[in-house]
Symmetry: C2
Subunit: 223 residues, 2 copies
DNA sequence: GACCTTATCGCATTGAATGCAATTTTGCAA
DNA sequence: TTGCAAAATTGCATTCAATGCGATAAGGTC
């Protein structure tokens, strides 16, 4: 039934309890007003123990980061034979976006609000995003060795994510009063559409004359 | 000679002393190893006073943020009649990049290293970058009301900055041992070149058939 | 059941950051 | 110049995140 040892199961349960206690408290009292001690107490562990589960208070809000990155990498690995870099990235983006477990979406909504309002959380989120970009770029470059080097792959992924992030930022500042998660998701979808339209054009142009439209850029010699 | 009141001049001098003391200590002992108390002591002020000059330890590393943003806004405002959004952004990027006062460049080099190595600093840098993006997008949309709405402007600027950031990230991880600031600057230049090549193509295509290549995207009605 | 590994916990400590109130410095006007 | 109001500096206390350490308990293995 469960492949984990009892110890690991217990650990997972405590971890989950911490996340749930934290989300409740954050929603009720706000992020800054909730101390780590409060969270630990609500989850029935010692304050010190909290830091053996999460390296910092912010990290609690991003529990499934690895999974999301893994999904993106997977999407790249399972590319079709006629997909170019842009198509693969688009598909990866959509697949990662459809991540909505029932209860995980509550955390996602909370996180979205905190990312916009709490500087420390935003900072951490951007950092995670940047690291993920770098990793995705690595895989993308490896997947298209004849069309992309590391440098232009990083530029492409950065442009991609930057466009979506920028558009999303605007969409969400209008949606202040939208607690409806469906509306938020629609905003995400629309933001990506707007942000990525130029690439769709580029991509189709690429199919017509690949070598001019997306020629690989040579790596500089590090002299 | 000096337009500031004596009080303001003194304040500026203290501020400068704090920055200089901090850079020295950061270079010598490292960021985490240097406490705010150390910096304050080196600048001959009380620890408490530090926080009346900078809201946090990280902020010390980004003293001229407003000026840089202002330069970008200025670059947008002073656009030529035949420049499109992409050209304006390119020019803004270059003008902001040529910011190198003699001693400010020392701080810039230090900052670059710390952004790459100290998580807290990187987080703050990304935050500042994102805020600047948003503001630039606002101005860009205002400058081209018939070609860009807020949403697509934000997407464009995000893509732009994202591309450069992504490329830069790769360039700089190869350049670990380059303490030569000239090499770093060359890396920056090359990174922007690579990152922005697609837009140059887009931009020239745009001049040939503007309406197809960069049609404005309608703002969604927030129903 | 003996033994090793891993979790948990309490305690102390560091360091960033904030609030408050006392004191000094500066700007300005009578 | 003198005196007054505004602003800056400072010390002190406090909160809170985060880390290190050592003791104790619980889980897994033979």
């Amino acid at each position: 039934m469960s492949r984990m040892s009892l110890r690991d199961r217990k650990r997972a349960r405590t971890r989950q309890a911490l996340v749930e206690a934290a989300t409740e408290l954050f929603e009720r009292d706000g992020y800054d007003e909730t101390t780590v001690a409060d969270i630990a107490a609500a989850a029935d562990v010692a304050t010190r123990t909290f830091f053996s589960y999460f390296p910092s208070k912010e990290e609690l809000l991003f529990p499934e980061t690895d999974a999301r990155l893994g999904a993106a990498v997977e999407a790249i690995a399972s590319r079709g034979p006629d997909e170019g870099p842009v198509e693969v990235l688009l598909r990866a983006l959509h697949e990662v976006g459809d991540d909505n477990d029932d209860m995980a979406s509550q955390l996602a909504a909370l996180r979205l609000r905190l990312v916009r309002t709490v500087p420390a959380v935003r900072g951490r989120a951007l950092q995670i995003q940047l690291d993920a970009q770098r990793e995705i770029a690595r895989h993308l470059a490896a997947a298209f060795p004849d069309r992309l080097d590391e440098l232009s792959a990083a530029a492409l992924v950065g442009a991609f994510v930057g466009a979506v992030t920028g558009a999303l930022q605007v969409m969400l500042e209008d949606a202040d009063r939208l607690n409806d998660p469906g509306a938020v998701q629609a905003a995400v979808r629309r933001a990506t559409d707007v942000a990525l339209t130029p690439w769709l054009r580029m991509s189709s142009a690429l199919q017509q004359s690949p070598r001019r439209a997306c020629a690989p850029v040579r790596r500089p010699t590090a002299s």
